[in-house]
Symmetry: C2
Subunit: 465 residues, 2 copies
């Protein structure tokens, strides 16, 4: 290629300017991509997060808000952050609900010629009242949709156990869609059934699998409605129960749960901070929730998110990256059965008139990271989405729409909410069960997630929103 016309001075200046600006842009781009590469390499070759997760799972274990394990988890994550040389590590005190499961639950079929005394695999739902020693027993009325309750009415439901058999459908590309659609029975079923005089509820576990594991999770009692006991039933038993009821509709179930709610108690969010070098008043929060259900070790939900968040701080410090804006690592307390940690964090942010520009949550499991979901439909996040090319080598998609339960409390402040979105296909194999253990987490997958959010937060800290 050669120039056919002589080049004018204006043109020359134009090309020079173009070259200068491109050169600059290429330089910035290359420097960012080199930093991001360092972040990924360090996360993979020195997997601190994975080591911390092993401790959190194996030495501490399940850590529901208010439990001794939750207190240990507060102390442990504070201790880790204290070793990282952050500018500030502190606790944010708050009151949390204190629900305990008590003795192992039991349930079996009664008043059946075929199935009597057949044990069922159950667990109490979180926040539920217990039956105590005497247990409860009643005929079982199966419903497939919440609206059926009204049709059945008090006449059919009073004194009965309502069996919410709403399966998590398997045909959605993303199982979270199915979870959202199927979870009404667990969340609200007890109060809805109690309105019509039901004495207890049995909820099909929320998983697309047919297996032997009851999945716990929290319910919420409505005001001024009697609180009735509620259990989750393993899907394999839910299928069997549904079939058995077709043959013997008069069969009954007995169950016994020993859970109770103690007075609210004191707990903490754990927070670590790196001060921004140029705009310290602009705050970027990164967090997961420190509490977990008690049946397993809270590995995917959400030990993974906690250690990935602390990894952000560790990688910044270790790689000597000085963020222009302030970064806060937050271990939120009580996401599972109260969200008090998220609420407290937002209250304090408001009280101190802090400027929270962006908050990222990682609470969807320690699986292979696939995308980072940013903001909501109403927010213009085009600038952030333009960082996509930097994530291509790591197969991470930047896309609109993200967030997390704990950080949702920052929405009224106009904060851009962001969520790490790992592969979700195996999430409901483990979610809220006794299988959510350290062994279920893969080192590379966990650490790639940590690297992905670190890289994203690095860009936010450098360039703002």
């Amino acid at each position: 290629m050669h120039f056919e016309k002589p080049i004018s001075m204006n043109r020359l200046i134009f090309f020079l300017l173009l070259f200068w600006s491109c050169a600059n842009c290429t330089y910035a781009q290359r420097s960012d991509s080199a930093t991001i590469r360092q972040i990924y390499e360090t996360a993979l070759t020195q997997p601190k997060g994975y080591e911390w997760l092993e401790y959190l799972c194996k030495k501490i274990g399940g850590r529901l808000a208010g439990s001794p394990e939750a207190a240990a988890a507060v102390a442990f994550t504070r201790q880790i952050m204290d070793t990282l040389g952050l500018d500030r590590v502190y606790l944010q005190e708050l009151k949390v609900p204190h629900w305990i499961r008590g003795r192992q639950e039991k349930a079996f079929v009664t008043h059946s010629k075929r199935y009597s005394a057949l044990p069922l695999r159950i667990c109490a739902l979180g926040n539920a009242v217990g039956t105590g020693e005497k247990g409860i027993e009643g005929q079982v009325i199966e419903v497939k949709k919440m609206e059926e309750l009204e049709t059945l009415g008090r006449e059919k439901l009073a004194g009965k156990l309502v069996f919410f058999n709403m399966p998590m459908e398997n045909h959605y590309p993303n199982p979270f869609t199915a979870y959202g659609l199927a979870s009404a029975g667990r969340r609200a079923g007890a109060s809805e059934a109690a309105k019509y005089g039901a004495i207890g509820v049995i909820v099909r576990s929320l998983t697309t699998n047919i297996d032997e594991f009851p999945h716990t999770g929290s319910l919420r009692y409505a005001l001024n409605i009697p609180k009735i006991p509620a259990i989750a039933l393993a899907t394999i038993d839910a299928e069997a129960l549904s079939n058995a009821l077709k043959i013997e509709p008069e069969m009954q179930i007995y169950f016994e749960t020993h859970c109770q709610t103690l007075p609210d108690t004191t707990s903490y969010n754990v927070i670590g901070e790196i001060k921004g070098s140029e705009k310290p008043e602009e705050i970027i929060s990164v967090g997961g929730h420190l509490d977990s259900w008690d049946l397993g070790e809270g590995a995917h939900d959400d030990g993974a998110g906690c250690v990935q968040s602390i990894e952000v701080a560790r990688l910044f410090k270790q790689l000597n990256i000085k963020p222009k804006r302030t970064i806060r690592i937050v271990m939120f307390m009580n996401e599972e059965n109260g969200l008090r940690g998220g609420q407290k964090y937002a209250e304090e942010a408001e009280r101190l008139k802090e400027k929270h520009i962006l908050a990222l949550e990682t609470d969807a499991g320690g699986f292979s990271p696939r995308s980072i979901g940013i903001g909501d439909e109403a927010q213009n996040v085009d600038k952030l989405l333009k960082w996509q090319p930097l994530f291509v080598p790591y197969a991470i998609q930047l896309q609109k729409n993200g967030g997390g339960a704990d950080i949702s409390t920052l929405r009224p402040l106009g904060t851009i909410l962001v969520g790490l979105q790992p592969d979700s296909n195996r999430y409901f194999d483990f979610h809220h069960t006794s299988k959510d253990n350290f062994e279920a987490v893969n080192m590379r997958e966990l650490q790639l997630g940590a690297a992905s959010i670190t890289a994203f937060i690095y860009l936010v800290a450098q360039y703002g929103i």
Copy 2:
């Protein structure tokens, strides 16, 4: 919005044409997206592939070419295809190498004050000669790079065992990169060391993990070089051995392997075909390899790819999709230690002057599908990449560069080679080990992979390349 100027006739015609073509395009788009949605939903809700995989793994198991299990796998997959109502199901006869492992291998340290008789976790490499009952024993020379052999020379290597301690590095975003870089020792190390008079080789297993599992895999002996025995050593023992050699360089290792190569034997590719309704002469092949290593059940490698390929035919038939072009489902035999199935398939294609427009292989594990890699740098596949929007709901990326070992033999025919690319982070936890079992495969992940390739093949069958 309203028109300010009166609209001319020409303009009107232009707009009408625009509308007509857009409406058509929207229609076609919508119809394809509806078909693809059906494909995904059926794959997830009726997981036949997962059931077939359970049989292949649990009832048949590891199935190296020439083994009784490989014969059973031929019969089993032919039987499945016979139930699907395909236009043609047939076997393609071929000769395969017949290597057998024989009795369990053993290895331990000798001539050491500290570690004598310490057992090492090993397995023979595929295609290797065995030591027989007498075993071999020798001093161990560790090398980190192939080039060190020349530096050490015959003086240092004659009569010794060469220990190729080339770790699969953990810092690459995709572990296949690390695998490619680290695998020379396993593939070529025995002959390279034998050139300098070494009597045997010990190869560090190919995984980024530090664990107790030896990973087998095939080696290739060079012509006119003595064939010496070769074993893979678990990474945890490779680390220990390397450390021990620093303290006691004179330590020796004894190992005993009972593998042998029997005369070539007869085996088969299994092929099922749906004839194209409009261009039957244009052939699209979809396959995985039916043979597997013997240590595990060949679940991810490559039972998963086999059942996913058969799912393509099943989903077409069940959803009554009539492809315009011919689709061939191919179970390739002997990918692991010879590639004879792929060679035979290409020979027959050439002999019959068949027009193979595209071939897809799925042989990277039954993990969550992430992308479909298409063609190579020299091929224009823009038309195929434009189908991307149809895959957005399933988070599948269409990208350049793909293929697979078995279908690589079709490259000289100008065929576009395509590979399903699942998440690879856990692949080398299982690859070529006793852990590659059915339990390591997740139903949703496997079936999403099957749906992804079915959707892609559907588009190729409708629109060509």
